[in-house]
Amino acid sequence: MEFLRPATWDEALAAKAENPSALPISGGTDVMVELNFDRHRPAALLDLNRISELTEWESGVYEGQEGEVIRLGAAVPYARITRELARQLPGLALAGNTVGSPQIRNRGSVGGNLGGASPAGDAHPALLAAGRDVFVEAASVRGTRLIAIDDFYVGVKRNSLEPDELIRAVRIPVADGPQQFSKIGTRNAMVIAVCAFGFALHPRSGTVGTGIGSAAPTPRRAVAAEEFLADELAERNLWATAG
């Protein structure tokens, strides 16, 4: 096995282009379990820990997204999302606070959840609920493309990344209404979701966001419920009065 340790993002992209089968590792909370139990023996590990911009987030305005957007570096650990972004991304912060244990939340990240694309990943319901204009930045030596969150998950543990692509960041609109996240497991802490649900109201666009985890081959939204609720709120004029 090879252990690739790029020092910069450009080096990481070059390494991934040269070794498309290399498995990216950041927090290691999923990848190392596979290795420890010998379930998976990749030709190479691509360590992203030295690339500091992956652990940064910034706020800005981006084309194709309305209002303020958080560009969340792929490796920002859940502990920091909950600590630093609870106001801007309340749904994701709540979801992040249910990931594993404090030790896991110090390492695990949204980029890892997206890379693994497990239907049980806690971030997915919150990302889906945050809106159809959530985008994953997929980067390669060929350039960067934005993948809409609805197009990202394609099967059990499969996503729409090309073999030479790495996840740089996720662009998530700042909440313009209330958001919630809930998860059912066999006990309170340290649990993989039996089912998870993310929910967001978007008064600015008069839409409702949902995300269901662990209930289908991919995380998915409840489209009929979103439309029903958005119409009901509009009909009763509750969007304007905020309930």
């Binding site: 096995m1 252990f3 404090p102 896991i104 340290m190």
Partner: protein, 162 residues
């Protein structure tokens, strides 16, 4: 591959490290630091908790190569050569929070971090902070006592020294 890093304040180096090896294996089997315990190897039990650059993590889920040039502090690094056991360690002994002892190293590191961030944690804070550390002997009550005791002692000491 060769991995060089700082373990408990001292530069250490290991050769012929397998690329898929965990930090836990590196500490225990190559560097003579067996304090961190290997139980579940999947981040469920917390027995292998160490500080990595100041944040508690499961060392079984960190690839050995990822600690190159970084700082690791294990349970062996909690005690001070001159002042002796850390107050958290002493409190675990005095409160009877150690039975078989297998989970203890992880609990000590995690409690050490909790009290550094929150010197006077509520019972809820303690339960939340220790939710990733499994103990099958004590039923946790003595561990709760130990954390409260360490907190009380640390706070009263710092009041005196002020």
């Amino acid at each position: 591959m060769r991995v060089t890093f700082n373990a408990n304040g001292r530069q250490v180096e290991a050769d012929d490290v397998w690329e898929g090896e965990s930090l836990l294996f590196l500490l225990r089997e190559r560097l003579g630091l067996p304090g961190s315990k290997n139980a579940c190897e999947q981040g469920e039990c917390g027995s292998c908790t160490v500080y990595l650059d100041g944040a508690p993590v499961c060392s079984c889920l960190v690839a050995a190569g990822q600690v190159q040039g970084r700082e690791v502090r294990t349970v062996e690094g909690l005690a001070d050569a001159e002042t002796g056991l850390d107050p958290v360690q002493q409190a675990f002994i005095d409160a009877g929070a150690v039975q078989c002892g297998f989970c203890t190293p992880g609990l000590l590191v995690q409690t050490h971090d909790l009290l550094a961030r929150e010197p006077q944690p509520s019972d809820n804070d303690i339960r939340e902070a220790l939710s990733g550390n499994l103990c099958r002997c004590t039923g946790y009550e003595k561990i709760m006592d130990a954390v409260r005791l360490a907190s009380a002692r640390t706070c009263s000491t710092s009041e005196v020294s002020q």
